[in-house]
């Protein structure tokens, strides 16, 4: 009758999950706190959500962050997919150099990346604002998107592309009709990763943003320094909900695909 996990296993799982998620749970719980004091429970209330939706500055920051996230993630995913194709398929000179160049940002400290981007924008005479943050976030997330897509592409059956060409597709069309559907889950995952990275970036945004383009992490950081407002808990809860919904949605679509016996081999 020695079935099921041992007490030791249960304990370690509970402790591990608590370590990971207790802060988040506390944050979510306190976002429904009626009290103004962050540390004192004053009963259930949604007043801070109401207050949040009346805070134009905060809402503006959320809107900027979402737009920056969507645009930079899309740009990074497109460029990252192209880079991955070049790295996996291209038999050209300097491929190693390209790979090194793409991956360099993975190991480069964000402070340095942010500073160098700032210097670039200043030198180029670009006014800092929404577009400079978006471009910078694409730079930051490009390497991650490339790695994710490249891993899938490396195991993708080259014969499928050749079969498509053999049946009348020019190379670009073979890529669009056969390769892209095959690597779509990886491309979606790359986009999600890039979007999430952009969403919680503070360092690079601080360097490259300008007036009128304050992202949510920047707004939260400056507010926390002035004192913790329960609205922060509310906006954080909404963000967690958004990201969790996205992750679960991606997971479920992939499960459905697999259940139906999709392209996973």
């Amino acid at each position: 009758m020695k079935r099921g996990p041992s007490p030791f296993n249960i304990a370690s799982v509970v402790l591990g999950l608590a370590f990971l998620y207790a802060p988040i749970v506390i944050l979510v719980v306190y976002s429904f706190n009626a009290s103004r004091l962050v540390t004192v429970w004053g009963g259930f209330s949604t007043r801070w959500y109401v207050a949040l939706f009346q805070d134009a500055q905060m809402l503006d920051a959320v809107w900027v962050t979402l737009r920056v996230g969507v645009l930079s993630a899309t740009l990074a995913t497109v460029l990252g997919t192209l880079a991955a194709v070049a790295l996996v398929r291209g038999g050209f000179r300097g491929r190693t150099a390209l790979a090194g160049g793409v991956y360099a940002t993975l190991v480069m400290p964000e402070v340095i990346l942010g500073l160098s981007l700032l210097l670039l924008f200043v030198a180029a005479g670009l006014p800092r604002g929404f577009w400079t943050v978006t471009l910078s976030h694409s730079t930051l997330t490009l390497a991650y998107a490339t790695v994710v897509v490249q891993a899938r592409l490396a195991t993708f059956d080259r014969n499928l592309e050749e079969a498509a060409q053999d049946l009348g597709c020019p190379p670009w069309k073979a890529f669009a009709l056969v390769t892209l559907p095959g690597i779509a889950p990886a491309v979606a995952a790359a986009w999600m990763l890039a979007f999430t990275l952009s969403l919680d970036d503070l360092v690079i945004a601080s360097f490259t943003s300008g007036p009128g383009a304050t992202t949510l992490p920047m707004r939260l950081y400056s507010q926390v320094r002035l004192g913790v407002d329960p609205k922060i808990n509310a906006v954080s809860t909404l963000l967690i909900g958004l990201v969790a919904t996205g992750v679960i949605a991606v997971y479920l679509t992939q499960q459905r695909r697999r259940g139906r016996g999709g392209p996973g081999k």
Binding site: D157, N159, Q165, D166, L167, G168, C169, P263, K265
Partner: protein, 392 residues
């Protein structure tokens, strides 16, 4: 019946000359000097880095032919096929399709379709969409595509499975979808890259015959690449045996088997016993060979004093329990081992210490008066016309 027992042919009066292989076929455009080949390889060479894959290959394939490229892995046969499909370009030479050099055409503009070894079915499309893929690229109307797809499904006996996804099919069904997909746009020539490598033996044999009847009923030209000699022998009108990037011999299966060009072909296709020797006398087509202490008579073309190899297939060697009266081409030995295959039994006969001969016997009766066993003394004979004299 003892194969080779009819070997007492009188070789001095060989007319009317029997035809090699004993299978009659009137289809032989390659023997007609006026026939224009559908595909012509003209001095084609290809190297990958330092490795030469294909060396100066000249080859013509004719309309309606089922042509096999046969050779061990790495002999360049797949490279040759991929050059025709357009996935590799030759370093030297030309490839002509219907008299036109197709060097400049990319793969998607060549009316040549390929069935890939692992089938390469598109996993995100269903069977009907896979088969219709090439038709859509040709800009065919939707209704017409649907009609052609149904036609193809019926042709490969997959009616009603158009809505399935490739991973819901068995290996044999997938193979048929791949075939239908490559055939649907009606290519000028269909290329088959080891099409049956993934099938089990029984299914492979069935598929071989289906492929042949399909090719004949459609009147299309097929080119198959295979390392399986049995497969090539069964399906092909003509076989080209490749070795290290070169074509060693091209001909009908019977010619390749019964009249191999050299020792390599003789050994690659089927089993063979080789005797090395010198021509000691010649009398018309009949040669007398001295091979060590043995003397053999055989028909062939070689000059006195030439070094030659005598190739004799196991099934052309007769096994006798009592010494035959005729001392020509006779070897005495002991049965060392045997393999019972059901339809045939192959005997390994030791004729000298360390020297064995393979002889095969068809099991035409269920019971034998004097069954053979290990250690039994036997005599082997073969007719002078059953041996092939090879000069290289």
């Amino acid at each position: 019946m003892d194969p080779g027992a009819d070997g007492a042919l009188n070789c001095r009066t060989p007319s009317p000359r029997p035809q090699i292989g004993g299978v009659r076929s009137s289809f032989a455009p390659w023997e007609d000097p006026a026939a224009r080949p559908l595909v012509r390889f003209d001095g084609v060479s290809k190297a990958f880095g330092d490795t030469v894959a294909v060396k100066a290959v000249d080859l013509s394939i004719y309309e309606g032919e089922f042509f096999a490229l046969l050779g061990p892995s790495g002999c360049g046969k797949t490279t040759l096929m991929r050059m025709l499909a357009g996935f590799e370009s030759p370093d030297a030479g030309r490839i002509m399709l219907e008299g036109r050099d197709i060097q400049a055409d990319p793969p998607h503009r060549r009316p040549v379709h390929m069935m890939f070894q692992a089938y390469a079915l598109f996993p995100h499309l269903n069977v009907a969409q896979n088969i219709g893929f090439g038709l859509r690229r040709q800009g065919m109307a939707k209704a017409e595509i649907a009609g052609r797809v149904e036609e193809m499904l019926a042709l490969v006996k997959l009616e009603g499975l158009g809505g399935r996804r490739p991973d819901q099919l068995s290996g044999g069904q997938r193979q048929r979808v791949a075939l239908a997909r490559a055939l649907a746009p009606r290519p000028r020539i269909l290329l088959l890259d080891e099409p049956m490598a993934a099938l089990d033996k029984k299914l492979r044999e069935e598929t071989q015959f289906e492929l042949m009847s399909l090719q004949q009923s459609l009147g299309m030209t097929f080119m198959i690449v295979t390392h399986d000699q049995d497969e090539a022998m069964v399906v092909a009108d003509r076989i080209a045996v490749m070795r290290e990037g070169r074509i060693v011999q091209a001909g009908r299966p019977a010619e390749i088997y019964e009249a191999p060009a050299d020792r390599y072909v003789a050994g690659f296709i089927g089993d063979v016993n080789l005797f090395e020797g010198r021509v000691s006398a010649a009398e018309g087509p009949l040669l007398r060979l001295q091979a060590g202490d043995d003397r053999f008579d055989a028909e062939g073309a070689a000059a006195v004093g030439d070094q030659v190899w005598l190739a004799v297939r196991p099934e052309k060697i007769a096994i006798h329990l009592d010494p035959p009266a005729d001392p020509r081409n006779r070897l005495a030995g002991k049965i060392l081992d045997y393999g019972y295959l059901g339809d045939w039994t192959t005997y390994l006969v030791e004729v000298a210490p360390g020297r064995t001969i393979r002889a095969a016997r068809a099991n035409t009766t269920r019971a034998v008066d004097r069954p053979l066993g290990c250690g039994d003394p036997v005599w082997l004979t073969f007719a002078p016309s059953s041996a092939v004299v090879l000069t290289k």
